[in-house]
Every structure is written in C-alpha cells, then in structure tokens.
C-alpha cells in the first residue's frame, strides 16, 4: 500500500486539508488519511524567547481560540513562577475561558455546521453555505451572531479587545473587574441563555433525522480524555485529567495536569504535520482517545448548573447502552450543552461577591525551570509545557493542542464514513460532503484553517490497490 502522496501546492496554503482514500483490489476502501500539510513551527521558534512573552506569542497560534492559548500559557508561566494566583484572578480567568467557549461553539454550530444540519448533506452545494442558512432560517443565523457577539463582548470587556487580549498575565490578570462591567455582562446573559435553550430544544427535535449520520460519523471505540473538577464535574480551567474507555470505565483519574507526560505520548506520521497523541500505556495507535465537548460530557458526572445538568442527562440518553456517547456526530449536541453551561456558569461567577476583589495578581520571578499549564479549549484539552534556563529564556516547548489529540480519531472517522458512503470506484458530491462534515464534527482548528464556511477547500483522492490515483475531486473554496 502506498502512503506516498505528492502534495499539491494548493494544499500547502493555510486552510487546506487533504484526504486520501486507498482502495483494495475489491474496490472497498482499505485506508483513509487526513493530511495536514501546513507547518508553523511554534514550538521551535519560541526557543530563546523570555518566558513572559509566551502567552502573547502562543496566542498567535489561533484567531478563533487565542484565549485558550493565553490561559494555558499563563498557567504554564504560573507554574514557572511557582505561585498560586489570587482566587479572584482564577474566577476572572474562568469567566474569560467560558466567554471564549461560548463564542467558539456558537461559531461552530451556527455558522459552520448549520448548513449541513439545516439544509442537508445532499443539498445543492452552491447553496449549502451560511447564505443558504440565512435564507432558510434568518432568525437562527441572527441568534448565532448574537451569541457570538455576547461571548466576544465579554472577552473584550475583560481583556480590552476581542482578538488577542493581553489581560491575562503570569500570576493572574492585570486589572480587576469593575461593577459597571459586571452589570453590563450580567445584563447580556439572560438573552444568551434564552437563545441557547431555544437552539438546544430545536436541535433535539432534529437529532432523530440524522440517525444514519449518527451511526456512521465516528462511532468507533475510543477512550475520552478531559479535565474534570475534583468532584468529577464538568471543568474547563483546572482540576484533574480523567480518561474513560469506550465502555465508560475510568482508566485514569485524578491525574494532575503536571503528570500529563506519563499518560500522553505523541507519534509522528509521514503524511501529516500534525502529531498523533495517544495514551502511552496502551501504545500507538491503540491508545486512541477523543477530546473536546463529547469527551468532557462523557467524563463529567454532572455539570453543576441547572439547565446544563438536565441537558447532560438527555445527552447521555443518545447512547442506547449505558456507555459513553460514542458517535462523533454528537459533538454538535455536546456543544449546545456546553453553551448552556457556559452561560449559567458565567452568571454564577459574576454574581459571586468576590469577583470584584482588587487583588488579582501574584508577582514573582521564575522560580522553577519547568512549567506546565493545562486547560480545556473549546475543542478539547490544551497543554502547554515549557522549560527555561537561569535567565528565564525558553529552552524547550511542547504544545499539545485539542485538534492534535483528535487526530487519530479524525482519521478513523474518515475511514468509517468512507466505508459507509463510498460505493465502488466513483466519488460523489454527497460523499465528499459527508467526509467534510465528519471532520467538522470535531471543529478542528488546523491553525484556524479548517474553520471554513460552507465549502472547505478540499481535495479527495481515490487510489487503487497499487496506489494509482483513479479519481480525484478537488474543490476550491
């Protein structure tokens, strides 16, 4: 079987992904690969920089989730400082992380996935985009804009700007929250909660119509990795790592984030610049796991907020047996549950009397030569790990991002979709779109690149057993 595929220059451009399918002699799909052909090199070019620059540098990894990198990076820097940040600083960081979750999930559901969900996978590709959604259900599109606006506005109120805020700093945050801003944020959230609950109710009615996709979109047996709180509840900022297997048995629990290197290894394949993290004790590739909203909800015993807990119970009913929800299609459902949770938890944080406390930063110099920060980004567990020299300059960096954790699972999912929908030796547009859609379930952030509207620039190659390309579909944006 040939895995050597010439890389088209088009796919080197940020935002391009490629999928290759390998056929057996019988015509059945033998292998499927998801190729990420861009290289950015953050881990390398950060070497030699002062550690205090890392939050600003690594936030540039992404235009969608800079807040996530900012938080994980500052947590790694807190570890380098060897400080416990003030409680109010932690609450404020949590607030920003939840606002980030809100705006990012809203973007994924309302703008990226709704064309498939609302218009159908086999609908006219010329209309299967955000404008098609606006034509069919303008209110839904407006609600998506409103949710994203609220999340972004809260980030801006806290951090001073929506993209790449610099308010979170090693040791805490650099400015406390004032009562006017708190009031303004609280005033926005009831509308957000109404939209979130309405959308959740709407999507619940739609789920049965996606039975076929739910059965074939990444229903493989994998483990699930995420942070959970010390009480085992849904957690996005701190806590412990938990790993459950496909049957719902806890494989690892109460793993301190600093101990992640014991359980997470990274493999490299020659067909992609994205690494393949795996659960070390099971080796590669058997140690496959998923992260993100699906994993977080599968691992959490409860959310800890009223409406989200009701939704979590309904989420668990998506799986007919008593195990975790295994279909990657249900990432969409999990995102909506998390949007509800994020809004409810932001309300709780903002109503906390301590949220206006002015002690929000611990000051220290570098007191350790190694620091690890782990948080939950919208797409899953995000790990920043730095080593510094005596001058405080970075000597080594390891970034394990959410999309990377899901790399093995995305490849398996493509294979499953191809098995189900590729018939014989000819590709169809419907198949192409389902392959794209299964990728989108994970909401991958290929350096922000796969956040594509409607049609992601995508190239699919169909090869026979000898490795000869027998069909190719290329779709530019």
């Amino acid at each position: 079987m040939s895995r050597t595929i010439s890389i088209d220059p088009v796919t080197r451009i940020e935002g391009h992904a490629r999928i290759s399918l390998q056929l057996a002699d019988s015509g059945a799909v033998e292998d499927a690969k998801f190729h990420l052909t861009q290289f950015r090199g953050f881990e390398k070019f950060c070497e030699g920089r002062p550690y205090r620059e890392m939050p600003a540098l690594t936030a540039r990894t992404c235009g969608i989730c800079p807040v996530s990198h900012l938080l994980a990076s500052n947590k790694a820097c807190d570890d380098l400082l060897a400080v416990t940040i003030p409680p109010t600083a932690e609450k404020l960081r949590r607030l920003m992380n939840l606002a980030q979750l809100l705006q990012s999930h809203a973007l994924s559901f309302f703008h990226l996935s709704s064309p498939d969900l609302l218009l159908g996978w086999d609908s006219d590709p010329a209309k299967r985009n955000i404008f098609g959604v606006m034509a069919k259900d303008p209110e839904l599109a407006k609600q998506g804009i409103k949710l994203r606006q609220i999340g972004q506005t809260i980030i801006e109120m806290l951090g001073g700007k929506k993209i790449h805020p610099t308010w979170v700093v090693p040791g805490g945050v650099n400015e406390p929250l004032d009562s006017d801003k708190r009031e303004a944020m609280l005033n926005m959230l009831p509308e957000a909660l109404t939209i979130a609950k309405d959308t959740y109710a709407l999507f619940k009615t739609m789920v049965p119509t996606f039975k076929d996709e739910a059965e074939h979109f990444g229903t493989m047996q994998t483990m699930f990795l995420s942070l959970v709180s010390p009480k085992g509840q849904l957690e996005h900022y701190d806590g412990f790592l938990r790993l459950k297997d496909a049957q719902g048995r806890i494989v690892e629990d109460r793993v301190p984030p600093s101990d992640y290197p014991r359980i997470v290894g990274e493999a490299v394949e020659d067909f992609s610049y994205m690494k393949f993290p795996y659960y070390k004790p099971m080796g590669y590739p058997n140690g496959i796991y998923r992260v993100g909203p699906l994993a977080r909800l599968n691992n959490a015993e409860s959310c800890g907020t009223p409406f989200a807990d009701v939704a979590l119970a309904e989420f668990h009913m998506l799986q007919e047996d008593s195990g975790p929800v295994r279909s990657s299609f249900h990432y969409h459902y999990a995102r909506l549950v998390e949007i509800i949770f994020a809004i409810e938890m932001m309300q709780r944080l903002l109503k906390d009397t301590g949220i206006l406390d002015t002690r929000v930063r611990a000051h220290a110099r570098g007191n350790r030569d190694e620091g690890i920060g782990v948080s939950e980004a919208p797409r899953g567990t995000l790990m920043h790990h730095y080593k510094i020299d005596e001058a405080g300059l970075i000597t080594w960096v390891d970034l394990i991002i959410a999309t990377g954790h899901n790399n093995l699972a995305m490849n398996r999912s493509i294979k499953q979709v191809a098995d189900a929908y590729v018939d014989g030796n000819k590709l169809s547009e419907g198949m192409l779109n389902r392959v794209e859609a299964v990728i989108r379930c994970y909401d991958p952030c290929l350096s922000c690149a796969s956040h594509a509207f409607g049609q992601m620039p995508l190239s699919i190659e169909l090869k026979d057993a000898s490795g000869t390309v027998i069909d190719r579909l290329v779709r530019d944006a």
Binding site: K146, K162, E183, A449
Partner: protein, 198 residues
C-alpha cells in the same frame, strides 16, 4: 527604511457597544448603546504586527481621538480598530447609516489613497470563519436585516508587509493624514489635519 510610529494601544475604541476609556483612562461601559442607531460606523482593520497592514487600525486610533474630542460627533459616530473583520460586526453594520472601512491595500501603489463604494457580494465568501471580507459582511447584513448601509472603503497602498514588523514604512506613513481627511469628509466632519498625502 521603516519609520517608527508611536506604539499603538491595541484596544478597541468603540464609542458605542464596548468599554471605552473615560477621562481617567478607566474603561466604562455603555450597555444600552449597543442598540442605538449610528450616523456612521468607522472600522479600521489589519494586523498590528505586519508592517503597513496596520494602516487601518492606526488610522482608526487617530480618528477615535479626533471623534471622542467632539461630543456631538462621538454621539453619532462609532470608531473601531480591529485586527480582523468578524461575523458579529454585522449587528453593528445594520445599525449604521454609513459605514467606512479603512484598510491597507496590496494592489495600490505604495502610499496612494483610494476611496471606493462597496456593495454586498455574497461570492466574497471567506473560507475561514475568523475573518471576513467587508462585502461579505454587507451581504450578511442584506440577507438578515434587509438593509445595507452606504459603505465606503478608504484604503492606501502599503510597501512593507513584514512579519513581526511593528512600524509603518515611510511611504505608508504619508498616507495616514489623507486617509483621516478622507474619512472625516465621509462622516461629515471638518478635516483639521493638514493634507500631506501624495
């Protein structure tokens, strides 16, 4: 040779929806203003760390200073400096009678300032979700709110787009004053900055 420009504050300078600096430099919030109609909305956009691409937000920063000094103007005009154009801006666009985008251009001679009308264009669909073409946002506006503000793009040719470059080229700097004058003219304010453009 690039000339150093004053280090800009990357904060947004919305006088409408978001936090705005008061006289003491403390951010204040005007929650009710997010729904008020605007005579004009000015959005300068571009990367602050890619050399001349910073023209848009830099010009917006300077315009904000000019607008905020005039109570009558600041009540009707919202100036925003943005890294990129994002979807939620549609809500702001829909509230404005006139919108002026400010951007650097790679297809203009360096330093040359251009003013052009923009119309909605659904085919200007972005492949990325984290930034949009202004014409696409206008098309969103049309589709969702059945109205499109009168929209202009004021742009100037850039010369240097280097990575991690925090300064405008000398050529691009010459475009700042004429761009400000152009925008002030479009929002009906008296230009008070000498025209030093090419």
């Amino acid at each position: 040779m690039s000339a150093t420009v004053p280090q800009r504050d990357e904060h947004s300078h919305s006088t409408a929806g978001g936090p705005t600096p008061d006289a003491e430099g403390t951010a204040t919030v005007h929650p009710s203003s997010t729904t008020r109609p605007l005579r004009a909305l000015v959005i300068g956009y571009g990367s602050p760390i890619r050399g001349d691409d910073a023209l848009g937000p830099l010009v917006a920063d300077q315009l904000e200073t000019r607008v905020s000094a005039d109570p009558e103007l600041s009540a009707q005009v919202d100036v925003q400096a943005r890294h990129i154009l994002t979807a939620e801006l549609v809500d702001d666009l829909a509230r404005a009678e006139r919108v002026i985008f400010i951007d650097a251009a790679a297809n203009l001679p360096p330093g040359e300032v251009s003013r052009q009308r923009l119309a909605p264009d659904a085919s200007a669909l972005s492949t990325m979700a984290h930034f949009h073409d202004p014409r696409e946002l206008l098309a969103w506006c049309q589709a969702l709110y059945q109205r499109v503000p009168e929209t202009w793009l004021v742009s100037a040719g850039g010369a240097d787009w280097g990575y991690a470059c925090y300064a405008l080229s000398e050529t691009a700097q010459t475009a700042v004053a004429p761009m400000i004058a152009e925008v002030l003219s479009l929002i009906g304010a008296e230009p008070d900055i000498p025209d030093t453009g090419p």
